[in-house]
């Protein structure tokens, strides 16, 4: 994998020349020494499939949504699944960062289970989104995905030397404030991390960003600070979120924050519209704003590459939307 990163760097000059004219192709991000850098277009990556441990992130599938912004969320999800199934190296697992469904309806959860079964991976890990917690709270979500968390919707697991922490920040809401993790969960996180050495790579999964992207729209977590305080002593922390349906990154010390695209519909950039919500774009643009993310973890190195993959064949998607 180190060789792969070297190859990526060699093509950086070429890649940067392309970034100004965003083409919708996957952009490779390398996090080197805690600083994320746009290293090149995915197609520029040489050296064959990555040799490190990989997993993929999928988010905000919103099954059940059928409005103008995307009347066919199953179709776009299947395009994303096809892209993931076509990766040269099969991901270790898929992490879904919430909003599996749009309305928390049992039929939507059932549909999700059916469509996700088309993924060629051994397992998936989930965190809930607020759209998975409607009406009966997290009952429907936990009935399907609560086993790992003993019914609490937060849990941790280890894979290939990486410690993964899955958090729930979608049920503790206070008026006029951003959502919260809650004291019980923060205390659990502190205890969970206390037993890990500072050299353990940490990946945090949560639906709503753990950094304040845009407070007027509630795009952040009100009590993230004590959670982040418990994470700062680690040499490599990667936080993966969804919720805002667009790629954003931020780095604080050794903590790199990433939000992901949705597979269902885009949302406006923070503050660029009167409100958040589904954004209707030209059919030709939709596929460029939806997609998945592949992450490559290199054991023994604090280098992590993330590859955000808009839906392949966006032109085909546009043609389908017109027909």
């Amino acid at each position: 994998m180190i060789d792969n990163l070297t190859d990526i760097r060699l093509t950086r000059r070429k890649a940067l020349s392309c970034l100004g004219a965003w083409s919708g192709a996957a952009v490779v991000w390398g996090v080197v020494g805690g600083v994320p850098r746009a290293l090149g277009m995915a197609a520029d990556i040489k050296g064959g499939p990555p040799k490190g441990f990989t997993f993929a992130q999928i988010s905000d599938t919103h099954l059940g949504f059928n409005k103008d912004a995307n009347p066919d969320v199953v179709g776009t999800l299947r395009r994303c699944i096809a892209d993931l199934n076509a990766l040269p190296q099969r991901p270790g697992f898929i992490a879904h960062t919430g909003d599996i469904t749009h309305l928390s309806k049992p039929a939507e959860f059932d549909l999700a289970e059916q469509v996700f079964s088309e993924l060629r991976v051994d397992r998936m890990h989930f965190v809930p989104g607020e759209h998975d917690a409607l009406d009966n709270g997290l009952t429907g979500y936990l009935a399907r995905h609560g086993k790992a968390s003993d019914g609490k919707a937060w849990y941790s697991f280890d894979d290939h030397g990486v410690h993964f922490v899955a958090l729930n920040n979608v049920v503790d809401f206070k008026a006029g404030s951003m959502p919260s993790l809650g004291d019980e969960q923060v205390k659990w996180l502190q205890q969970d991390l206390a037993a890990r050495s500072a050299s353990t790579p940490i990946v945090v999964l949560a639906h709503i960003p753990l950094w304040t992207v845009y407070e007027p729209w509630g795009w952040g977590t009100a009590d993230a600070e004590p959670a982040l305080a418990a994470l700062r002593r680690f040499g490599s922390v990667t936080v993966l979120n969804g919720h805002i349906h667009q790629v954003m990154q931020k780095v604080e010390g050794h903590v790199a924050f990433h939000t992901a695209m949705s597979t269902a519909y885009p949302q406006p950039a923070p503050g660029t519209a009167e409100s958040p919500g589904p954004l209707k774009v030209d059919a030709g643009q939709l596929g460029k704003l939806l997609g998945t993310r592949e992450l490559i973890v290199v054991r023994g190195a604090r280098e992590l590459a993330t590859v955000d993959r808009p839906i392949a064949g966006a032109a085909d998607l546009a043609a389908g939307a017109r027909s």
Binding site: L134, P276, G277
Partner: protein, 122 residues
């Protein structure tokens, strides 16, 4: 419980909503017959955000956004189902008081209902 919610997004919902009001709260039914006070949801905002009504009045939230919202009013023990586009939720406020509420999915969306004894709404 200070009232009853009723999702009215489709014919079945309409039947359930009317039944819930008519069977559960006689005074509420009278208010329902008069006409509900409507709070519209547009662009992630309640409009009007603050209203004053007589006790027994039905307040109806109507969602025009392209995404789902719900209504959470802890002091009124109201936790409505999610409202998709075009759906609405009715709730009858039977006891005087000030009822702050929010959307449980988007907590920056807030509103307040001032419920006064009939004839004392000024």
């Amino acid at each position: 419980m200070n009232g009853a919610w009723a999702p009215l997004g489709h014919p079945l919902g309409l039947m359930f909503g009317v039944c819930a009001v008519a069977l559960g709260l006689g005074r509420a039914y009278e208010a329902r017959a008069a006409s509900p006070v409507i709070v519209e949801i547009n662009q992630f905002q309640f409009s009007p955000r603050e209203i004053t009504v007589d006790a027994g009045t039905v307040v109806e939230w109507l969602n025009h956004d392209q995404t789902v919202h719900n209504i959470i009013a802890p002091d009124a023990k109201l936790a409505s189902p999610g409202m998709d586009t075009g759906d609405h939720v009715d709730f009858t406020f039977t006891k005087p008081g000030d009822y702050a509420y929010l959307c449980g999915l988007h907590p920056h969306m807030t509103g307040i209902i001032h419920v006064r004894a009939p004839g004392n709404s000024g």
